[in-house]
């Protein structure tokens, strides 16, 4: 099976892991640089979360090996988790309102 050869080739290759490590460090460097130059809060938040999601994807796909697992496992784990996390945002508009409702 070609899938099995890909598995044996890539999933265990040291070079691949070092490559992913390099990218994780590089993206962390970019994040730290962003905090050094301090752009606006909203822009910072967007950029930092974007970079963090890329880093999380790299970790899950290669270090946690999910890229080389069966698609059915990925589909069982990931959409449900993302859905629940997105549901947490339902609360968020309240926090903006609270700021203006505080007596002071």
């Amino acid at each position: 099976m070609s899938e099995a050869t890909v598995h044996a080739h890539q999933a265990g290759s040291r070079k691949l892991f070092l490559y992913v490590w390099f990218w994780l460090l590089a993206l962390t460097g970019v994040e730290v640089y962003l905090s050094y130059v301090q752009l606006g809060v909203k822009l910072m938040l967007t950029l930092l979360m974007g970079l963090s999601i890329v880093k999380a994807t790299l970790i899950i796909s290669y270090f946690m090996h999910l890229r080389f697992e069966r698609r059915s496992l990925v589909l069982t784990l990931m959409p449900a988790m993302v859905f629940v996390i997105v549901l947490l945002f339902l609360f968020f508009p309240d926090s903006l309102r609270l700021l203006h409702m505080r007596p002071q």
């Binding site: 099976m1 265990g12 040291r14 892991f17 070092l18 490590w21 994780l24 460090l25 962390t28 994040e31 730290v32 962003l34 905090s35 050094y36 301090q38 809060v41 910072m44 938040l45 930092l48 979360m49 970079l51 963090s52 880093k55 999380a56 970790i59 899950i60 290669y62 270090f63 946690m64 090996h65 697992e69 069966r70 059915s72 496992l73 069982t76 784990l77 449900a80 988790m81 629940v84 996390i85 947490l88 945002f89 609360f91 968020f92 309240d94 926090s95 903006l96 609270l98 700021l99 505080r102 002071q104």
Partner: protein, 219 residues
């Protein structure tokens, strides 16, 4: 096992087990062991726990007009960056350990696991120094010298739960190193402990920017 036997008897075509459809009631629809599946399910639920805490932190921060941003770029952010480096590097040593374990190189796997534990310990030590500095500056769970008292509560809860995970991970890896080194466990157990360790690393990839990089003291 019984289902698999039944399937192979029922299908007279003599198809190998690998070709069996995941949806036909095959013995292992995800093609992974039960320990690994169990760890994945735990990781998904723990990821939601951390998401809820990060969301709570963001919520109270947005809802407070006087949220303190006390971290100087040097030394706090630099220290947190070094901590990130240790955690990321310990993830790489962990994948090397899993690789060695799968290749049957027990001694090498144990060495890589010990390296991973060293990275985790360095992280804990640096983070403990960070905590001690903040406590010295007067940050408590329900008060701090700068602004919203919720800062201490959210900071210590979030980083404390994460640090607990790192400490549990170091202990867990220590047990695995001893048992795997003495030949009492198979390689899958090392891989499962690796999944946990990478997850702890992954959570920090969100705590680091949200708590540190967005709280740098200006001027």
């Amino acid at each position: 096992m019984a289902t698999q036997d039944f399937a192979s008897h029922a299908g007279h075509s003599g198809a190998p087990a690998a070709a069996e459809s995941a949806w036909s009631g095959g013995g292992s629809p995800f093609a992974i062991g039960s320990k690994k599946l169990g760890m994945w399910l735990f990781i998904v639920s723990d990821a939601i726990t951390f998401s809820a805490l990060l969301m709570a932190y963001s919520y109270v921060r947005v809802a407070s007009a006087d949220w303190p941003t006390p971290f100087h770029f040097y030394p706090s952010v630099i220290k947190a960056t070094v901590m990130t480096f240790f955690l990321l590097s310990s993830s790489v040593t962990m994948v090397m350990a899993v690789r060695a374990a799968k290749l049957g190189e027990r001694a090498s796997a144990v060495k890589w696991i010990l390296g991973t534990m060293a990275g985790g310990l360095a992280f804990i030590v640096l983070h403990a120094i960070e905590w001690a500095d903040l406590i010295h500056e007067g940050v408590r769970l329900f008060q701090n010298p700068w602004g919203s008292p919720l800062f201490g509560a959210s900071f210590f809860t979030l980083t404390g739960l994460h640090m607990t995970h790192v400490a549990v991970g170091v202990t867990y890896l220590g047990v695995i190193a001893v048992l795997f080194g003495s030949g009492r466990l198979d390689a899958e157990v090392v891989e499962v402990s690796g999944l946990y360790w990478h997850f702890v690393d992954l959570v920090w990839m969100f705590i680091f920017p949200l708590v540190y990089l967005l709280s740098v003291k200006m001027g």
